[in-house]
Symmetry: C2
Subunit: 560 residues, 2 copies
Amino acid sequence: MSDVVHQKWWGWGVEGVAFNPDNKPGFAPFVRKVIGIDVTGPAGSPPSFDELDVPASRLPDELGATLRRLVGDHQVTTDDMDRVVHTYGKGLRDLVRVRAGDLPRVPDVIVYPANEDEVRAVVDAVVGADAVLIPFGGGSNISGSLTPQADEDRTVVSLDLGRLNRVLEIDSDAGLARVQAGGLGPDLEEQLTERGWTMGHQPDSFKHSTLGGWIATRSSGMQSDKYGDIAEIVRGLTAVLPGKVLTLRPLPSTSTGPSVREMILGSEGRLGVITEAWVHVHRLPENREVIAYLFPNWAAGIAAMRDISVSDATPSITRVSDANETAFSLATRKESKGLSSKVGEGLFELLRRRGWDLEKVCISYIGYEGGSAKVRADKSEVGKIVGEHGGIKLGKGPGAMYDQKKFDTPYLRDFLLDRGALGDVSETAAPWSRLGEVYVSTVRAAKKAYEEVGVQGFIMCHLSHSYHSGACLYFTFAFPPREDTPELEQYDVVKSAIQQSFIDHGGTLSHHHGVGTDHAPWMEQDISEAGVDLMVGLLSSADPGRNLNPGTLLPPEREW
Amino acid sequence: MSDVVHQKWWGWGVEGVAFNPDNKPGFAPFVRKVIGIDVTGPAGSPPSFDELDVPASRLPDELGATLRRLVGDHQVTTDDMDRVVHTYGKGLRDLVRVRAGDLPRVPDVIVYPANEDEVRAVVDAVVGADAVLIPFGGGSNISGSLTPQADEDRTVVSLDLGRLNRVLEIDSDAGLARVQAGGLGPDLEEQLTERGWTMGHQPDSFKHSTLGGWIATRSSGMQSDKYGDIAEIVRGLTAVLPGKVLTLRPLPSTSTGPSVREMILGSEGRLGVITEAWVHVHRLPENREVIAYLFPNWAAGIAAMRDISVSDATPSITRVSDANETAFSLATRKESKGLSSKVGEGLFELLRRRGWDLEKVCISYIGYEGGSAKVRADKSEVGKIVGEHGGIKLGKGPGAMYDQKKFDTPYLRDFLLDRGALGDVSETAAPWSRLGEVYVSTVRAAKKAYEEVGVQGFIMCHLSHSYHSGACLYFTFAFPPREDTPELEQYDVVKSAIQQSFIDHGGTLSHHHGVGTDHAPWMEQDISEAGVDLMVGLLSSADPGRNLNPGTLLPPEREW
């Protein structure tokens, strides 16, 4: 068996790591208040794997023998656990279905190639056999990008890139590293930092997502204000296409027609398998700190982030949470740590006396990196802007807490599922001029959907990833479904309302989570029918037989 | 007749504006030294238009009538001058051929639509008649992107966007403007600056190129270090495709699969006609200055630019010329202005005493923009880095001179042609680690080509457009061709040697001039055969009949 480590088959992260409410006294009352459930009582738990009815592998002997010959017996498996792990990502739909044993189509075989040559051989064998190939990285996708189509009659091969996990070389002069696509965030970053470098790319999924997955879905990290989205970080790449290898050399910029690099970015496996990339790396910053601020309300926070984006300051992180998410943050703080000490000292009492409506307070985190002079100048400039919008500085303590907790949120889905509630996320990006409208309309759309479904729901939001012309709004929502209707039907009503609100108010269907099957219904509304036409032309000419991860990116009626 | 103003049919810029050597006493001796020709004697001049043998228009009556009905009689012309103006760009090959009356295929008709609806109607009529459509902006392309194929049997329609030249709206909150594609740089910038905004996009061709042309060729401006390449500046766009309109809404960033925006960027008319775009605009900077520096040699200058690119300083311009281009700059300065005053005061004598080899001196221009504190901090940081590499500050005077002369260089082609010499440019981008190699190899390749051809040639270079991982190197070369061989044959030897050197040493075929027909032979070497396969799939599925500017972007053997 391959020694590639996977996440839990039923949830986020590796076995034994989970959300822990015990040291967060404010959490249970908060959850009771916002979605009306009691999380202190006995919880359900994921089903036992043995209870699952896993469909048998349909791997034909001949293809199986070929794959074993190409990559070695131990790197090809039809083991049920491995196949279930490779069936779903970690979106809410995925988790509900896998917990319910809803497994209409499971990959027939998992292959773990060791290098590009083996990837080539496997791709050619799979396409040659008219089977379906689905590339698999960390398995953390939450848009439905890696699940076999339920009605897929052909053999389904999951190609796990987990063994391609090395930083191959660092070009110190150019600030570029050649990195294999299958490495998880922490593995890659460890190899870089031990030589004094960093990619600076930190998506929420950092611990369980790979470079190849980031590229294939157009990922963005929390520090994108400084380090850029993955589309900027990746300067060159290698991808295995059926019968050939695409090689884009590392270039700072180029004028060679329609960008092939930007065709592979976001391609979600439909053009081939990304095996390695040249990425920007940076020397570890001389100074790094995250400072927390409070704004009297959401509009003030957004306006401040916008002003920062056109100021001379260039922070590495700009983030502000709405009042609901701020309340959530306070509710998940550990006792007598971080914010609470200040709060305990009567900060909120002081703010109330200043006329703040404490129900509307919004917390913000701004990251600073660089030499002392730059950090000082940026802090001064940002401090001025925060003040102009009525905000105040909280300090480094809560900022450090943000850094510690920043990868923890995805565990909440599982915690809530064990307690009968559904939680998920949807994010968008829009011009600054439309963010207020996107926010208000989306919150309203979610509430209307909750009413329609007949549940007590919650939605919260933060702004992250500021650009010259706009920003990303990241929504998290949760509700306990009614028992008289299938829970995913209820979820779909809410999720669809949120997505439609994005599109209707100038936002995109996703800022950095990809299209998958979940967001594909909004593609024509987002990039126009003619845009989808161009994409169909590109994909269908490259993969006429629909062997490469079919079903993702496009609405079903646009498949060829 | 349409009132759209065009450049000279035979050269750069409008009638009456040309390179003037009279107030530059150092110029004639410099030219005599480097390419052995005397520019003080009587010069040739472009032929009279009447001497040209312009092939008659082959516009079928029916298509002509349709076009007149769609856009109005006065906006459709088969006038010979107008047709010749629309036959070529302004590359060296273009100018030599048009001056020689080499007109194998001239557009049969020029159409000047007033708006997107008319563009739609024209595109559909032209494609419906199986004619060829070539979009035309400022006509300043120098890669052969807008010339009809010599053997084109079908009707050729040149679609001039000159009447679509308005800034339609400015979104102040988002720093975005909706701008029509046919506006020339100065027109658009004037409409923006009168409202307090700027795009900051200043390619060498600024005065005679359009937004649509910038997008279609992946342009980059001198201030790209701050404002970005056009690919970053453009956030949304509208393009007319056969039978449909592509609409990409303005988004700061998005995760919607392979980027359709990045397919239109660089498409050089092969996917359709860009009619408008949403572009980044910025408030006019509080402070703006360009400061000149001197480095003891090229390697020191490059190393300093590289260090600046990873420092905390964020200048708007980073530029350094090699020794040859520095000598050229000194030779084209006006008497007792700018540099010369300092030079006159014995600066060079001082440097010589310090041990500088004055043959190797390199001039550099760094631009600063922003609030006083930022400009001060950037200047301080840059000054430190310049000093670390042995450079010295010259000051603002020469910097201001750079700003005045920055759009003048393209006129030199015509000046030299009138005096029997060929001059042109080739530019590339490569990682910092390979720039030295690209430079040395390219200079060597040019010299070898000059020897092979048997001429006295000159080549000079500057670095512009710095990125995290590399920079653009911009070469200018000139030589007087032998009389016993066709001059373009000689030019091709030199141009090909330079292009091949780029590719062989880690550079791209063009950083911002596009592919056209001139650079198409290097496409497979640059983006790999598989990359060209993807591009062919995209283009051929969108335009199976090859009606949209066929011949550009791809080597002929890759056309369908």
